[in-house]
């Protein structure tokens, strides 16, 4: 019997190791997930291709531009900043994650908001605009919302720039004239 003890201990050790390996194995999502860089106001952050400087974020009941008036039954989330592409022409994929729900940047303002294609080396300043239900302001999820700036909808093995916002602490304005998007020349 004593002769078998080392073999039994070795078996238990191997089984424990296998269990530990199994429990700590990264999921497919983790293996293929994005490499996230976190953004803060006033700081330039870079992904593989995108660059982003956040300047301001606020809520608004109504938005206007030269040829558009944006009424909503919900609420507008506006994130102002400068976004650029370092390598090639790209259309940034920008969305806001509220709990399990993902809101793509609104197409309603048209050219009055950021979201169209970026030429390499020519960053654009302006605002990204999201239309959200008012209920998010009263939900717990509204206190930790993630805005994601990436080059694709489902980012796999590529970079993404995330920015965490507390919607309940943002300034709430009634009517806002959107800043006209433009190329930053300096």
């Amino acid at each position: 019997m004593r002769k078998r003890i080392p073999a039994i201990l070795a078996l238990i050790g191997l089984m424990g190791g296998a269990l530990l390996l199994h429990l700590t194995e990264p999921s497919d999502e983790q293996i293929q997930g994005p490499f996230v860089t976190y953004a803060r106001f006033g700081e330039q952050v870079e992904g593989r291709n995108l660059t982003w400087i956040a300047e301001d974020a606020y809520l608004a009941d109504r938005l206007t531009s030269a040829d558009w008036i944006g009424e909503t039954d919900g609420i507008w989330l506006v994130i102002e900043g400068t976004i650029g592409s370092r390598l090639d022409i790209t259309s940034p994929d920008v969305s806001v994650l509220v709990g399990e729900r993902r809101y793509i940047v609104s197409n309603r303002p048209g050219d009055a908001a950021l979201g169209t294609s970026l030429a390499a080396g020519l960053p654009q300043s302006g605002a990204f605009v999201f239309e959200l239900p008012r209920s998010v302001l009263e939900s717990a999820e509204g206190t930790r919302v993630t805005a994601r700036f990436a080059t694709g909808f489902r980012v796999r093995l590529d970079s993404a720039i995330d920015m965490v916002l507390d919607l309940t602490s943002l300034e709430h304005k009634s009517t806002v004239a959107l800043p006209q998007p433009g190329v930053v020349t300096s």
């Binding site: 558009w68 008036i69 944006g70 009424e71 909503t72 039954d73 919900g74 969305s95 399990e100 729900r101 993902r102 809101y103 793509i104 609104s106 197409n107 309603r108 048209g110 239309e131 959200l132 239900p133 209920s135 489902r154």
Partner: protein, 225 residues
């Protein structure tokens, strides 16, 4: 010889005789009621909703607001071909999914969320537009006329769906039946995430066709005798 009890006598009756007896009794019951073909299975009946009622779905919850014939297009510049007019259906659509959805499919023939008069237009339709293309309803946002507006999760959105229709297809006062088509979530096999499929009619909304806005004739177009 032992005397047979009633139980034993009944047990000796052939099963086919029992089946025949049950069928005969069922037939006698059904005869005065008009026959079994008049009995409608309740589970196959489509619920009927009123205009303005919210029809809750898995993908979209839809409220049918109005239906009208109009000669004014929401884009402000489209012009009607002779013999055609526009059918305008106003809906309030709430995206019940977790992702922003595109409204482009709402009035589609194979991917639509409404069907008008059991497939005359919208889902299931084979109708063609004035240019002989497959007819799809074009969605516009009511508040600002945005074409193909996004449908944000949980946000009720007023959308008008515009169909090209022949001007003799319907008249003001006709009753249309707008069927609400819902789709159900399933795990994507080829891609990733949740997709919506298996379209099913979940409610019919009868609605009276109204007169919509009429375009004023351009004085420059008047024929001078």
């Amino acid at each position: 010889m032992a005397r047979l009890t009633l139980r034993h006598r009944l047990a000796r009756v052939h099963p086919f005789v029992w089946i025949g007896a049950v069928a005969a009794i069922a037939g006698l019951v059904a005869w005065p009621l008009g026959g079994w073909d008049t009995v409608e299975l309740q589970s196959t009946k489509t619920p009927v909703a009123e205009p303005g009622d919210l029809v809750a779905g898995s993908q979209f919850s839809i409220r049918v607001e109005s239906a009208e014939l109009t000669t004014v297009h929401p884009d402000g510049f489209s012009e009607l071909e002779p013999g055609w007019t526009w059918l305008r259906i106003e809906l309030e659509v709430t995206n019940e999914t977790d992702l922003t959805e595109f409204s482009s499919a709402l009035g589609g023939d194979y991917d639509g969320s409404i069907t008008i008069d059991e497939g005359a237009l919208g889902f299931g339709s084979t109708a063609e537009d004035s240019e002989s293309n497959t007819l799809r309803g074009d969605p516009y946002l009511v508040s600002d006329g945005t074409y193909l507006p996004d449908l944000q999760p949980g946000l009720p959105t007023r959308v008008e769906v515009i169909f090209d229709v022949r001007d003799d297809a319907w008249t003001i006062g006709d009753e249309l039946t707008i069927g609400i088509i819902d789709r159900f979530p399933y795990e994507s096999v080829l891609g990733s995430g949740i997709r919506y499929g298996f379209p099913a009619l979940i409610a019919d909304v009868p609605i009276t066709l109204e007169q919509g806005a009429q375009a004023t004739p351009d004085p420059d177009d008047e024929v001078v005798p």
